[in-house]
């Protein structure tokens, strides 16, 4: 039975989540040097185009086709059989295609998050082929395991309301593998490049926060109390995390930075994602306050110590924040918030924490291995990295023959 309110909210949410990809483009684009900003915007935009087609042609079927096994199978290829009537096992009150297009936006933004790790040095052709293979062989299976009917992690009882494992840990681990395989950007030892346009970072963060209401509250798939809970805890966690990061900097470095408060807000949004439909407001504050501590340590202490060049901290924020969020869901989830969920450790069910831990571990292992194999294949046939000279000139000119900014008029 189609409910017009639910359908309106899910369509609206889909549009909100779509906006997150151009938002991410500005969030990342502001962080790179000005010779590379167009390459970031282009990568985000081409993902919107290419994965939109990929999703309706094969991605949705592989991810959500009702099947037991590695992925969802091929019965919904080209949206064959995905119609305007509800598919009750996923969402009983909205047209099946509304659910499909909402999920499409998640499939778009997830590979876009990985851009943060290979920014400023990856060949455009290699990036495009990698992204399509990754969407097919990493995102689709994982999405099926966690959210699809017959998915083994779903049947195992893992809670992931809006994509902590499927989106953030998944993309974050892929980002770490990327940074390790691709190596550092040139001259990094002498000169750590500073973000060329922090106002873009703020713009991107603001739009991400805005879009995230669709991401999390939309994941209720209905205009109901659960959506409101997700909306409220999302806003709360982002606020707590932004503040927390700024204060950590203030205490440690003497000044709070704009870059820091933005990084914190995004980390908070990441961390609340898996639990948005299972936790209440006070745990959301704790999730937000603590995620900034973990992510701050990851990007300012662990990254320099280990020496990998996760250029824009896709691993440090999304994977670390995502893991904390998934585990925090196992701590703070409560049936009082969502009867369809489960109780967490602090609500008398320690088993849920172990289930969450297992789901995180499974995601990390599968994604790391599959991403590694895909990179090796692409490297073999195309080569991953641009030449030294191209890197020095910048990807905007060498990959797209365009410049973002002029000198005169």
């Amino acid at each position: 039975m189609i409910n017009s309110g639910d359908t309106a909210w899910v369509l609206m949410s889909s549009a909100l989540v779509l906006l997150m990809t151009p938002a991410l483009a500005f969030f990342y684009g502001g962080m790179v040097r000005r010779k590379n900003i167009l390459s970031i915007l282009m990568q985000c935009f081409v993902i919107m185009c290419a994965l939109s087609l990929h999703w309706v042609l094969i991605g949705y079927s592989l991810s959500f086709g009702p099947a037991k096994g590695f992925w969802g199978g091929f019965q919904w290829l080209g949206l064959n059989g995905v119609g305007l009537e509800p598919y009750t096992d996923y969402a009983a009150t909205i047209p099946h295609q509304a659910f499909m297009i909402f999920q499409a936006m998640f499939a778009i933004i997830t590979p876009a998050l990985i851009i943060g790790a290979f920014a400023e040095r990856m060949k455009f052709s290699a990036f495009l082929v990698f992204t399509l293979l990754w969407a097919t062989f990493v995102y689709s299976p994982l999405c099926h395991w966690v959210w699809g009917i017959g998915g083994w992690l779903r049947n195992f009882g893992a809670l992931d309301f809006a994509g902590g494992t499927v989106v953030h840990i998944n993309a974050g681990i892929a980002a770490l593998v990327t940074a390790l395989i691709l190596g550092k950007r040139a001259n990094l030892g002498k000169n750590i490049p500073s973000p060329h346009n922090l106002p873009f970072v703020v713009l991107g963060t603001g739009l991400l926060w805005f879009g995230w209401f669709g991401f999390n509250a939309g994941s209720a798939l209905a205009a109901n109390g659960l959506a409101v809970n997700a909306f409220v805890v999302t806003n709360t966690a982002a606020a707590a995390a932004g503040l927390s990061w700024a204060f950590i900097e203030w205490i440690r470095n003497g000044k709070p930075t704009v870059f820091g408060i933005c990084s914190g807000a995004v980390a908070g949004l990441v961390a609340i994602t898996p639990g948005a439909g299972f936790v209440s407001v006070v745990p959301a504050i704790l999730i937000g306050l603590l995620v900034s501590v973990f992510c701050f340590i990851a990007v300012t202490v662990i990254k320099p110590k280990l020496g990998y060049d996760d250029s824009l901290d896709a691993f440090g924020v999304h994977c670390v924040g995502g893991i904390w969020g998934a585990l925090a869901t196992g701590l703070f989830a409560s049936k009082a918030v969502n009867a369809a969920g489960a109780d967490g450790l602090f609500f008398g069910n320690p088993k849920q924490f172990l289930v969450q831990l297992f789901a995180v571990g499974a995601t990390i292992i599968y994604t790391a291995l599959a991403t590694l194999v895909i990179y090796k294949l692409v490297d073999l046939f195309i080569g991953l990295r641009v030449g030294e000279k191209e890197e020095a000139i910048g990807l905007d000119l060498t990959q797209h023959r365009e410049r973002a900014y002029t000198v005169l008029e």
Binding site: K190, N191, K389, A392, I393, R401, R403, T406, V407, L408
Partner: protein, 113 residues
Amino acid sequence: MKLIIAIIQPHKLEEVKEELYQQEVNLITVSEVLGHGRQKGVTEVYRGHKETGNLLRKVRLEIAVNDNFVEPTVNAIIRGAKTGETGDGKIFILELKECVRIRTEERGSSAIG
């Protein structure tokens, strides 16, 4: 005292700076400029992207040095900026009449370093 003005490819700036530091030349002024040489910008479209007609983006360095630093400085710029291709740039060496350090009002050679 000499004033050395060098016009180089923007992406060579890091290497030139590195070479200059090795010669202990630490005082430079850098600006972004537009220009073209004999080729009038035609052969470099891919590397330089034409801007306003046929003007290409370059970086201009200004370095004031005492006479014994002129050759090391020039050689350092060449080592950092030379690719052997059109568009590598130029180095101009000018007589420098006077130099004043504003903070101390020192003049001449001691004000440069």
